[in-house]
């Protein structure tokens, strides 16, 4: 009996913790995120990344910094436990791997091109495209969580879904990329600063 009550309590809590959003709230969130994205010229943020795989004892953690400049310049930089940065610029990835610089033309690689676009868009949160995704909206306390599942089968075999958490201002606070195996990468953003001047030197390669 006690177990049953516990189970019931747990179920109620789970439902409370993440409940489906009404259509009206979903439209309002989408509008807010798009507005925020459209008025965002630059973003800098720290992030902590957790790579979760069921068979591991612990998640693999790494730390880094993100820099974004509209319309589509992104620098993704890991500082701990290794030094690695990648600049996404149109059809090229500029990589700095512990001082060794290289670039990769991803124009011919559909998968990486797509991933690049999605990462750029997910930083702003703007993935609201029903041609490309099945979209589900949830409330999580004061935050919102939106699940984007790619419709393209090839891409879905690489990433099953993006779960993006937005704060009350429509800013992205967390991105979770789920793989078909249900293993995932969770990226939590902190110290986010928007529309501060960001010198071009940040994106020099």
């Amino acid at each position: 009996m006690r177990n049953l009550i516990f189970l019931l309590w747990f179920t109620v809590c789970s439902v409370y913790a993440q409940s489906e959003m009404s259509a009206g709230d979903a439209r309002a969130l989408e509008a807010k995120v798009k507005k925020t994205a459209n008025t965002t010229e630059t973003i800098t943020s720290s992030f902590r990344q957790y790579k979760h795989m069921d068979f591991l004892s612990n998640d693999i953690e790494s730390l880094g910094k993100l820099s974004f400049k509209a319309p589509n310049l992104v620098k993704w930089e890991y500082t701990e436990p290794f030094a690695y940065s990648v600049i996404f610029e149109e059809e090229t990835l500029y990589i700095n791997n512990e001082g060794n610089k290289s670039d990769m033309d991803i124009g011919s690689n559909k998968l990486f091109k797509r991933l690049n676009q999605l990462i750029t868009n997910s930083i702003k949160g703007d993935l609201f495209n029903t041609d490309e995704f099945h979209i589900d909206y949830f409330k999580k306390g004061n935050d919102s969580e939106v699940h984007f599942a790619p419709k393209d089968e090839d891409f879905a075999s690489f990433i099953k879904a993006f779960h993006i958490t937005f704060n009350g201002n429509g800013e992205v606070t967390e991105v979770k990329m789920l793989e078909p195996s249900n293993d995932y990468t969770r990226i939590v953003f902190t110290d986010r600063k928007t529309n501060q001047s960001l010198p071009d030197a940040v994106f020099a390669h």
Binding site: S57, P81, F82, N97, L111, L115, D183
Partner: protein, 201 residues
């Protein structure tokens, strides 16, 4: 005619076994097994920053190795962002591809990776012969018709040299060893331009 003895000498050398080429001294004792302790703790997640150089191309990512049971290891390679490139299981002599990026899903690539990682995670191969060379003991083992030579110094596994027809094909070099964790590992192919460098993180 003058060249014949030289040619003959070369032919003999070309047919020589790896221990003969390297002037190893044979030791009488045989049998038993040699232990590769570097991926043997099931409580530990072995996580490495990996740099792969294939011809002039450079790929990097994270290599994760985990012992899941007796003769059971999982080997996963992901991008820095965490997207899985390949995911293999080695269990009781069986090999399974759990996942591989479609672009890499080629038999030749898989076989190459399978052989390298099987060598890396095999824990207690049977010893066929033992040798000595300077201050090292060398243990000869066999894996799928390839002879592997395990070099130890002060009872620590220093490197594995994989050979075919007496010729060195791949070297696995373990360095900066601390508490049975090799902080640096190099996998160097001698017949193709492929090298994998692993740094523990």
């Amino acid at each position: 005619m003058r060249y014949l003895p030289i040619s003959l000498l070369f032919l003999i050398w070309a047919c020589a076994s790896y221990p003969e080429r390297n002037n190893f001294q044979s030791m009488e004792t045989s049998g038993g097994s040699i232990t590769n302790p570097y991926f043997s703790n099931p409580k530990k997640d072995y996580v490495y920053k990996a740099d792969i150089n294939l011809y002039k191309k450079n790929f990097s990512g994270i290599l994760i190795l985990k012992k899941l049971g007796v003769q059971h290891h999982r080997v996963v390679f992901t991008t820095e962002l965490g997207n899985t490139i390949f995911d293999f299981s080695f269990r009781d002599g069986d090999f399974r591809v759990n996942h591989i990026l479609s672009e890499m899903n080629k038999k030749m690539v898989i076989n190459l990776l399978k052989k390298d990682f099987r060598t890396l995670v095999t824990e207690n191969p049977s010893v066929l012969n033992r040798f000595a060379s300077e201050d090292r003991f060398i243990f000869e083992t066999e894996m799928a018709k390839w002879k592997n030579y395990y070099y130890t110094i002060d009872r620590k596994l220093e490197k594995i040299v994989q050979t075919k027809n007496g010729k060195k094909k791949v070297s696995f070099i373990f360095s900066s060893v601390d508490a049975e964790v090799a902080k640096n590992i190099q996998i160097l192919h001698h017949n193709i331009k492929l090298s994998i460098r692993l740094k523990a993180i």
